[in-house]
């Protein structure tokens, strides 16, 4: 293939090198500096896609990120990217792309039948039909619609690339590196402040690269190159090409995406594909330029019909002729500029058709006063029909038509905080309003300054005012300073199938129908017709729709208003928002001090929040987890077991008011707890519901160690700080979390004391260290440690803690000391079984809706003191006679299971919600009792011991008869604890 439309000289492409690429199976050649669209056009390919609804053939409308039509599936395999704009895809060697949204080939798309049916498929047609028979929607109509809809395809393979996130700080962020942005950057950069200059393009310079103006003696592009070189030399300026500022967030935070590796075949190893930057800036100059808008003409969507400025860009920057014969349809002087540029490149101008009677004349080509009223060409433009002001019509052969309907400032980022743009009559366009995001100023074409000289001036001024700089603005070379000369013209009278939104196939006819049916608010128009909801967010379509709506409603365009611009500025890969947080790195892991040791033992681990805890320790010959767990429970209850309980939250509470503070946060009393003793504490939320439970150990008069459940460590700490700082600011109490500072092991079972006596340096006999005792001790001949005689299992048990770095050594020591008693490490499953056997409430019971009463601890709520939650816990709805009470449940048939989540019903009577009496919270097999047991909540449960009930789980098809029993299945008197 030859690059038949490549102009012989000029352009900002590197002709010395060639890239080979593939589109729809055909291999072409282009040059570094090309986009996929420019390279395809150079090769004479202008059919690049199909529209969403009617599957009309489409080529590029633009040469930038506002492109609605030329969307392709870029790359293949797991890296396939649907809906990728050919107009911004930087060409690289080996690029692979294919067209999308077609059934068959791009040239013969079977779904183009929709175009023939377009009379039936008008705006909103689907709201009015497909209702009968009702069942057909999901089965027939919807699948058909879904398959026809959608644009490109995902590969459905895991994205193999990585994405980074990063954080940048600056004094001035400049968005856009066209003339205004470069002028702003030069001004601020020379003043020495920290500047970030970001531009979505891979080449800085903006429209200077696309135009033939000179700045002084240099071409615009050369001047831009020179400025960029100077900026690069300044240490306080960070230039970020290929970086789109996607959104403006509160207080000077901007989101920006840098495409680090999208212009290469595959990212280098370890390097990200893209980076999501969070930019913190004091001030921002928005210099995002402007977007040309098309004119609605019958059949204005054929490949070859483009924005005039796009044709100009392809010719000047990429050295590509859109066709050998080009016509221009314009309502302003800028259209003529395109014609002049093309002519200078040797491209034949079929004519410039200008709607204005006073259009500038040319000696080089014909200027027609009139309008384009129709176009021809099945897969690409072949001719246009022109209606002259005189009334006669003419057919002009041409392969490209440039449309120039004026320019819309790119105000999007000014609206991300719900600011509304205002109407500028001279430009017939919306320009930024007064309510800009704090710290933002707007410069250049984005502010309505359309000339090059104006852009330079306003860029420099914006930087100076943003930074409060004094003095003169830098001098810039002389540049074009022409005024805007335009006659508002939106659509050709009488047109019907004239496209406004090319991607979503919204035509003038649809807007008229929408108005006819009462969808007259601009938001209704958008939602009913889908105008502006395509991947370009209406950048080239919204204004046309608004103008027609205004005319139909007899209003002005600003009276009709605009819809709201939402971030991101251009569609942004979901992957980059996810950053590194995927797979195993979704959340950080927390490892217990015994993790490495447990791993050596072959432990199976389970996620508990971010923690990984040993769930059980399988031994050779054990084939099911139950075998391991049963063994661990029996071994612990029979002799001694050890479990890492470091994950429980620990808060160090010190100060002269520490005891009084605990009185506030726990519903039960702590003031009189002796030094050297530990007490169970129940913490309520202010609404009287149980928040958390744990223990508080009084190590000294003014020093407690409070434990929380694993899951609640953080919220409880936050709550304690709230109580300390906001409610009782003059209490002398200091808090600090020490969860990770100590490795803590539970050593439980009748032989636990014997094991620990070999490790602990002090006397821990029952007399010296009774149940609920606590102390600072030393172990192994001098290492500082803490010992608590508390038990979750119901056995004689201790928790022993050493500084975390010694945790690994201590577990090994305990195992060594316990060897003679066959000490058994146990995991969270055995821990769970033992606490259910003992009737201790845990997370399943403390589910955020249970009261102390429900838990059978109603009497713990002291009425003699002020504590969080005590008052609201007295509300009538929380103190009903038939309230839920925690009970034990066992099956009548001892072989049956009593699964958690089952509900409790009377033995007779209906099984439905109205007769629901309670539910099972936790269940397990008790190896000690030899049958399943469970904890649950039952209405008035404490009065119903011995009652038989039906346990039902229709979800899992279980129904079994159970007996309500005490929740304390093992050692109800607590003799073992105190042994």
């Amino acid at each position: 293939m030859t690059q038949k439309n490549r102009i012989a000289t000029g352009g900002q492409i590197d002709r010395s090198r060639t890239h080979s690429f593939t589109f729809d199976g055909v291999t072409y050649r282009g040059h570094p500096g090309d986009t996929l669209a420019s390279a395809l056009l150079a090769n004479g390919v202008r059919l690049m896609g199909r529209s969403f609804k009617y599957h009309r053939p489409r080529g590029p409308l633009t040469a930038g990120s506002e492109e609605p039509n030329a969307l392709v599936e870029l790359r293949d395999g797991a890296r396939q990217e649907p809906n990728t704009r050919a107009t911004t895809t930087e060409l690289f060697d080996g690029l692979f792309a294919k067209s999308q949204n077609r059934l068959g080939s791009l040239k013969f798309d079977l779904l183009s039948i929709n175009d023939r049916l377009s009379n039936f498929l008008t705006a909103g047609f689907y709201y009015k039909t497909f209702m009968w028979p009702a069942a057909f929607w999901e089965k027939l109509y919807e699948p058909l619609i879904r398959h026809a809809a959608g644009l490109g395809s995902l590969s459905l393979k895991d994205d193999p690339d990585v994405y980074d996130k990063g954080f940048l700080h600056c004094d001035l962020l400049i968005v856009g590196a066209g003339p205004a942005g470069l002028a702003a950057a030069l001004t601020a950069g020379r003043a020495g402040v920290d500047v970030i200059l970001a531009d979505e393009d891979f080449r800085m310079g903006g429209r200077l690269n696309s135009e033939t103006f000179s700045l002084g003696d240099a071409s615009g592009a050369d001047w831009a190159n020179g400025v960029v070189a100077e900026l690069e030399s300044l240490p306080n300026v960070r230039l970020m090409a290929r970086t789109t500022v996607i959104g403006v967030f509160d207080h000077g935070i901007y989101g920006a995406v840098e495409r680090v590796s999208d212009h290469v075949h595959t990212p280098d190893a370890g390097k990200p594909r893209q980076i999501l930057w969070r930019i913190y800036t004091k001030r921002t100059v928005l210099a995002a330029g402007a977007t040309e808008r098309p004119i609605a003409v019958e059949n204005n969507d054929r490949p070859g019909i483009m924005l005039a400025s796009a044709i100009r860009t392809y010719a000047n920057r990429f050295s590509v002729a859109a066709d050998k014969r080009v016509a221009i349809f314009t309502n302003n002087d800028d259209g003529h500029r395109t014609a002049a540029d093309l002519h200078a490149k040797g491209i034949k101008i079929a004519a410039v058709i200008d709607v204005r009677p006073d259009a500038p004349k040319s000696t080089n080509y014909e200027v027609i006063e009139g309008q384009v009223i129709d176009t021809k060409g099945r897969l690409g433009l072949t001719s246009i029909e022109v209606k002259l002001t005189s009334g006669s019509t003419r057919r002009l052969d041409c392969g490209a038509l440039g449309m120039s309907g004026g320019w819309n400032p790119n105000v999007h980022l000014t609206c991300h905080q719900r600011g509304r743009p205002v109407w500028n009559e001279a430009l017939a366009a919306f320009v930024p309003g007064d309510h800009l995001p704090a710290g933002m100023t707007v410069a250049g074409a984005a502010s309505g300054e359309m000339s090059t000289a104006g852009a330079l001036r306003s860029g420099a001024h914006s930087a100076m005012s943003a930074l409060d700089l004094k003095g003169d603005i830098p001098s810039f070379p002389k540049a074009e300073d022409a005024p805007v000369n335009l006659k508002p013209f939106w659509y050709v009278e009488g047109c019907s199938r004239a496209w406004l939104d090319q991607q979503n196939d919204v035509t003038v006819k649809d807007v008229k129908l929408s108005h006819q049916e009462g969808f007259r608010s601009v938001e209704h128009l958008k939602r009913y017709t889908t105008l502006g909801m395509a991947t370009d967010q209406g950048k080239t379509s919204n204004m046309g729709g608004l103008a027609i709506m205004a005319e139909l409603a007899g209003k002005t365009i600003p009276e009709v208003g605009t819809t709201i611009f939402r971030p991101p500025y251009t569609p942004t890969a979901i992957g980059v928002f996810g950053g590194r947080h995927r797979g195993q790195d979704f959340h950080p892991k927390r490892l217990t001090p015994s993790h490495h040791w447990a791993k050596e033992q072959g432990a199976v681990f389970v996620e508990v929040g971010n923690w990984l805890r040993a769930q059980w320790f399988p031994r050779a010959g054990e084939t099911t987890w139950r075998q391991s767990v049963d063994r661990e429970v029996l071994a612990t209850r029979g002799s001694v077991g050890v479990c890492d309980v470091t994950t429980l939250g620990k808060v160090d509470v010190q100060g002269t008011d520490a005891a009084e503070f605990l009185n506030k946060i726990y519903c039960n009393a702590f003031a009189k707890l002796e030094v050297g003793k530990t007490r169970y504490g129940l913490m309520l939320r202010e609404d009287g519901i149980a928040k958390d439970d744990g223990t508080a150990a009084r190590l000294a008069e003014d020093h407690f160690v409070v434990t929380t459940t694993t899951a609640n460590a953080l919220p409880v700490y936050r709550h304690m700080e709230f109580v300390r700082q906001c409610l009782f600011p003059d209490m002398d109490v200091q808090l600090i979390s020490t969860t990770e500072a100590w490795a803590q092991y539970s050593v439980a079972g009748p032989n636990s004391r014997r094991v620990l006596e070999k490790i602990v340096d002090q006397d821990i006999s029952n007399e010296a260290f009774p149940f609920m005792a606590c102390a600072n001790i030393t172990v192994c001949g001098g290492l500082r440690a803490r010992l608590f005689r508390i038990s979750f299992s119901g056995e004689l048990a201790y928790e022993i803690a050493v500084p975390t770095a010694y945790g690994d050594a201590l577990i090994r020591k305990i195992m060594e000391a316990g060897a003679e008693y066959d000490i058994t490490p146990y995991g969270t499953e055995a821990l769970g079984v033992m606490r259910i056997e003992k009737g201790h409430a845990a997370g399943n019971e403390l589910n955020g809706t249970t009261t102390a009463q429900n838990l059978g601890m109603g009497r713990m709520v002291s009425k003699k003191k002020d504590s969080i939650g005590s008052i609201l816990s007295e509300r009538e709805g929380l103190n009903r006679d038939d309230d839920l009470r925690q009970v034990g449940i066992k099956p009548v048939d001892l072989k049956a299971s009593v699964p958690a989540g089952s509900h409790l019903m009377s033995l007779t009577g209906p099984v439905d919600a109205a007769h629901d009496q309670g539910y099972v919270t936790s269940a397990c097999y008790s190896p000690c009792l030899g049958h399943a047991i469970a904890l649950g909540f039952l209405k008035n449960g404490s009065e119903r011991m011995g009652e038989r009930m039906r346990l039902v789980s229709p979800l899992t098809k279980v129904e079994t008869e159970v007996e309500i029993v005490s929740p304390h299945f093992i050692d109800p008197e607590g003799e073992r604890l105190r042994a």
């Binding site: 980074d164 996130k165 950080p588 993790h595 160090d652 100060g655 200091q734 975390t804």
Partner: protein, 187 residues
């Protein structure tokens, strides 16, 4: 004397070091740490003791980088004191004695993992990790911030290419992984 041996936060017997051309990431296993919080009404006495200990009382966002004891501000009337573990294994006990009744002292040695990032790529690496204004930070500037969802302290050391990061010890592996990927990304 006890015979229990420590392991490093990453689980090794020796601290881990990873070297790239622009940055080195070293696990620093040698820190003893303890927090000191002034008792209500004893702030002046606490400050005075702190002054004696460090030569200055670190203000918000500040660290005093001294040998052997250094210290940084953690929160209102609360500081972290660090010292070499080899010589200050019982740092918390020593501080308790020193501060007496004017402060609450809590041992923190086991709670943290420390990494030293050193090299000319420091700013680039840090910008991929957290929202601290690394290029503006001066020696002693200290920030608590989030790295890979982990609450960390970052402390600019005297060498402009040296940053110390303290992170939650239980997540040392995840934090190290985040540091390594940032280093690879910017290599």
């Amino acid at each position: 004397m006890h015979d229990l041996k420590t392991i490093t936060a990453l689980g090794g017997s020796e601290p881990r070091v990873d070297t790239f051309h622009h940055i080195s990431i070293s696990e620093n296993d040698g820190l003893a740490l303890a927090s000191v919080a002034a008792r209500l009404g004893s702030e002046d006495a606490c400050h005075k003791t702190m002054q004696d200990l460090l030569g200055a009382v670190p203000g918000p966002g500040e660290a005093v980088l001294r040998e052997p004891e250094s210290g940084f501000w953690m929160g209102p009337e609360q500081w972290m004191i660090a010292a070499p573990r080899q010589t200050h294994e019982l740092l918390a006990d020593d501080l308790k004695t020193r501060f007496g009744g004017c402060a609450s002292v809590t041992e923190q040695s086991g709670a943290w993992v420390s990494f030293d990032l050193v090299g000319p790529g420091l700013a680039d690496v840090t910008e991929r990790l957290c929202a601290v204004p690394i290029r503006k930070m001066q020696a002693g500037d200290t920030r608590r911030t989030m790295i890979h969802q982990l609450g960390c302290f970052v402390i600019r050391q005297a060498d402009p290419h040296h940053l110390r990061i303290l992170g939650p010890r239980a997540s040392a592996g995840s934090l190290h992984h985040a540091l390594m990927t940032a280093a690879q990304s910017t290599a």
